[in-house]
């Protein structure tokens, strides 16, 4: 019974909001920079999106290594388990991709246009 589990081990809503906000801000800032990179390299269509996905997964990985791993591994969790800070594994690894996409497309278009003018 998961509801009862949740009542026995309650979740701090403030922390959840704080973590989500941290991650969203990080991703919206980095995504725009990836757009700059993709625009400079003049990537088109699929390559641009692949570039974006690869780099934003890299960002998540860096975030895991630098901010999550020290305390999470110390708690005895397995590698790449983000359960101490995020409720689902997907939240850490993929949510940023969709958050940053509009900013990425904006700067990608801008720099593609600037460099290829």
């Amino acid at each position: 019974m998961s509801e009862q589990e949740l009542q026995i081990n309650p979740i701090v809503q403030d922390s959840v909001a704080h973590n989500t906000k941290t991650l969203t801000n990080l991703h919206s800032l980095t995504a725009s920079l990836f757009g700059v990179g993709a625009g400079i390299l003049g990537l088109e269509s699929y390559y641009g999106f692949l570039f974006y996905i690869a780099f934003s997964i890299t960002t998540s990985l860096l975030f895991y290594i630098l901010q999550i791993a020290p305390s999470s591994l110390g708690e005895g969790r397995t590698v790449l388990d983000s359960g101490r800070y995020y409720r689902g594994a997907l939240e850490l690894w993929t949510s940023g991709i969709f958050n940053g996409l509009p900013g990425f497309i904006l700067t990608w278009t801008l720099f593609y246009g600037l460099v290829r003018a």
Binding site: P10, V12, T22, L26, L33, L41, F55, L62, V115
Partner: protein, 130 residues
């Protein structure tokens, strides 16, 4: 580690700006030169611009990740253990409200004020002043 964030980001931005400038110059040159009568998008960038841009992007990314705030544990017992152990003495942060112990209000209820301790503190304070 957080102090590294800003320098890393700035260095990365400078390198990225340089890469951007180089790429721009390259396309302008190759579109005007006679050897490349083809359209400018057909000529590819030299390898060093690729390397420079990707390295700069990674560097900025690293800087931003270092500068992003640390996450807080979401399970109540982990979180409460953390704030009990570390104390809520985190000095004037923006997110101090989040970090401070939510049960502080209970500890400081007026029914539980230790008058004699407060009084002895006050006496000490008075003696200090003299």
């Amino acid at each position: 580690m957080a102090w590294l964030s800003r320098p890393l980001t700035v260095i990365g931005l400078v390198i990225l700006a340089h890469g951007c400038y180089s790429a721009h110059e390259h396309t302008v040159l190759s579109s005007t030169s006679v050897q490349h009568p083809t359209s400018p998008s057909a000529t590819s960038l030299p390898l060093d611009i690729y390397i420079e841009t990707i390295a700069a992007t990674l560097l900025i990314c690293l800087g931003l990740v270092l500068g992003s705030g640390t996450p807080e544990p979401i399970q109540w017992h982990t979180w409460a253990g953390k704030i009990e152990r570390e104390g809520d003495s985190t000095s004037g942060d923006a997110d101090k409200e989040l970090r401070s112990n939510p049960f502080n209000a209970l500890e400081a209820r007026s029914g539980f004020i230790n008058i004699s301790k407060l009084r002895s503190d006050f006496v000490k304070y008075q003696q200090l002043g003299k």
